[in-house]
Symmetry: C2
Subunit: 483 residues, 2 copies
């Protein structure tokens, strides 16, 4: 007999997970309205219909009647069912090489957690930098930075590896969210590490899942950004931000506990307990070094970044550091595969069917008269601060990156400069709110920082980041000859 | 402190899952030897190198240094790393529409288990047919047949839905594997239902994961088989096999218990306990009927079979019968996506690079003089019984289907006839051993049937199936005008 606690088949709570009705209706309505508006002169009907499905998909990703992957899958279905595209075209996103770069990086990143190498790196940084609270913040951010090139889920990196270490530190120093001891240490560390995470995400093509989406969308405009180019361009402003942020937060709101000699000792003990670096960790480290080396030297060696990622994955599978079961279990990767394939496919065919070229031309005519510096500045700031309305970087990038890039370029902004700034901003804007990127709710959920405090500091750091990335970054990119 | 039972990070059992060394070395050796043999006149070097990687992948799938998916992923990596193909070409299998048909069917099939509809169908059949032991066998096979079109994992269908019901019947009638009561009921039911499963797998394009692989390989030879065509061609010989098998097994080795009035009662009670058909089951049923209808009418309505599958999936997601979490959790689907994409990509480029056309021409010259009927008969029988050497239908199809089809056609066999017979045999041959298809180990593992008995009956039923499918099937396909 089925009891109340065990569910017999056929006696499930029926359809608790169906699409939320209001968001679903809005999503469908937006799609239908656009579908039935007659396309403007110069736009094919097929392109217009695809635009309707594309916009509805984006609205669905933002309003979430269902999770992003399900919305994307239904978007793919819609392009095929309406015969806007053939089924082959509808599925064409699935063999995109950039998508497989990020999917493979997801697989590889599991190895840092599984082997314990990620944790070891965190304790290593703490043992060196951990004698002061400010040093602890730098140590945690350093861990994050080292892992960033090969962990594209900033939730996994921040929430899975760095956050547990942060929590154990707060516990050891008696800093709790609910008993008035938050400011001893926890509030400062949470603020610093979260804002650091936002910056490390901006520093590598493979450090955040939506970065390759921006690269793909830029490629659609004929602007190509390689893994190495991204990393070099982001290095100087990125490092500067990472150095400045904890220091400024420390000055503004110093933690009550400032010296932490025991933390360095604790880390050393932890490392001792972990013992010598194990064989799987060595292999993971070797694969990681190989990946970074080949990614940086990609052009010189003419090895595609995705091929490199597959080589790294193959190495981990052959040696048993990762099992095939680990791969099949890596839900974040499969999720990314689906939503990414849907968005790239639609963006690709909006280009091929002429809608995006048409839009670029119209924009060129409309904004051609402006001076590009103020024009781009306004565009970039609007792009940045509109993130208050988004609950995910991916949703924001998929909705706004391409049109803002097109308008920026139409206004005369050097294309690569525009593409890079908007791509970097696609990470940096996530520091503003507690819901704007995956790890936001994790860190905010710790309870160390109140919402007012979170938003106030978020706004402050956003200004700092914008200044650093536009001014210092702009100079650095000028030296690099990127514009 | 880490104890022996909890694994602290970095203290895992190191590399227990690395590639098995001897199979790995054989796989690599085969690939390297072919790679360095100079290609025969008329074959491009790139085609020859791809053949080396393809053969090594197949050998790896058979010898299993790692699970099939991992071998396939490394095969994809090898084509890109050696620059035999570009990375884009290496990943091109991932947008194949047939692959997404089967992947989507995997997702949909989860609904039968989750909603309890599969179990309900089984009890319904039992309540109608279950008054005699022979009727129970037909009832279980009937369940399997009804579910077959939309459950491409015969392991999920046989092992996940039918097998538990079979076991509960044996338990109720006191038939156990180890106390001399196996022949009361269990041995007969296991034999019948397993052999039935082999036949139902042959009856629909979407009833077994390797069926679409055969269709893709045939398409590479310009032979197109639609979902409806497959189902109609297989219907007559399939139903005849399903009727004959339990009856013959019953006559040869009758179960000791022959009448089972209580079973029908039990089933009715179970159904009563399940109550009225629930909303999710109705939706699942509606989606299922829609799928079958659209698949059969695919050509008339000009809706691609994959589009249909996506519509079914969309319906289940929107209504919450399936959640996005269910989809991400469906490891069999992601596994199939990877191995299928690797094999289809390689087969596709072996064609495009001219190796398969070259092979066809050579074969045409070599076997052109034979009469096709005896030639094809020999080829088909060799194809069938070579399954004693294979532990999976997929491995067998990927290794032998294309060359056997090419030689058959070269010998003058009507192409569609050859493609269908080999495709049907790709399922029927799995009845011979206890390891030849996924559900084999499940049913054999019940212990009701000894290995000698299993093989003896397997051989007998294989002869029965070959006669039915070649003679009755041949006539039926002649009437249909397929040859």
């Amino acid at each position: 007999m089925a009891t109340l606690t065990t569910r017999a088949p056929g006696q499930e709570a029926p359809l608790a997970d169906h699409a939320k009705l209001v968001p679903l209706l809005i999503t469908l309505a937006v799609g239908l309205v656009i579908w039935f508006i007659p396309p403007p002169a110069g736009v094919e009907v097929a392109a217009w219909h695809l635009l309707a499905i594309f916009v509805a998909t984006i609205v669905g990703i933002i309003l979430k009647p269902l999770p992003m992957g399900a919305v994307a899958m239904i978007g793919i279905m819609a392009t095929a069912l309406t015969k806007t595209l053939t089924i082959g075209e509808s599925l064409s996103g699935f063999n995109n090489t950039t998508i497989w770069l990020i999917v493979t990086a997801f697989f590889i990143s599991r190895g840092f957690i599984k082997t314990g190498l990620g944790e070891r790196i965190a304790y290593y940084f703490m043992s060196v930098l951990g004698k002061r609270t400010l040093g602890l913040a730098y140590g945690l951010i350093g861990t994050d930075l080292v892992l960033a090139p090969a962990i594209p889920s900033n939730t996994a990196r921040g929430g899975g590896i760095v956050y547990p270490v942060l929590l154990s530190l707060c516990k050891a120093y008696g800093s709790n969210p609910d008993d008035g001891t938050a400011n001893r240490m926890g509030a400062f560390l949470v603020r610093s590490v979260f804002q650091g995470l936002v910056v490390t995400s901006a520093m590598f093509l493979t450090a955040m899942a939506a970065n390759p989406l921006a690269v793909e969308l830029a490629a659609g405009q004929g602007i190509n950004i390689s893994w190495g180019q991204w990393a070099i361009a982001a290095s100087v402003p990125g490092l500067l931000s990472l150095i400045a942020i904890p220091y400024i937060l420390y000055r503004l709101n110093p933690p009550e506990i400032k010296t932490t000699p025991e933390a360095a000792e604790m880390a050393k003990e932890k490392l001792q307990k972990m013992g010598a670096v194990k064989v799987p960790e060595w292999i993971m480290l070797a694969a990681f070094v190989l990946l970074i080396g080949l990614w940086i030297g990609s052009e010189a060696l003419s090895i595609n970044a995705t091929t490199t990622a597959l080589v790294g994955l193959g190495l981990l599978l052959l040696t048993g550091v990762l099992t095939w079961g680990d791969i099949l279990n890596e839900k974040g990767a499969w999720d990314t595969l689906v939503w990414f394939a849907a968005l790239v496919m639609m963006a690709d065919f909006l280009n091929k069917l002429g809608l995006i070229p048409w839009f670029s031309e119209e924009m060129g005519a409309a904004v051609g008269g402006f001076a590009w510096v103020p024009a781009f500045l306004v565009l970039a700031l609007v792009y940045f601060y509109s993130h208050y309305f988004f609950a995910s970087c991916t949703a924001h990038v998929s909705a706004m990156y391409a049109p803002f890039l097109i308008v920026s370029v139409a206004a005369g902004t050097p294309p690569l400069l525009a593409a890079l700034v908007l791509a970097f901003f696609s990470n940096l804007f996530a520091g503003t709110t507690h819901y704007g990127t995956g790890p936001g709710p994790v860190f905010f959920g710790s309870g160390f920082v109140s919402m007012t405090d979170w938003w106030k500091h978020g706004l402050l750091i956003s200004v700092l980041n914008i200044v650093i990335w536009l001014v210092v970054g702009g100079l650095w990119w000028k030296i690099l000859g990127l514009w």
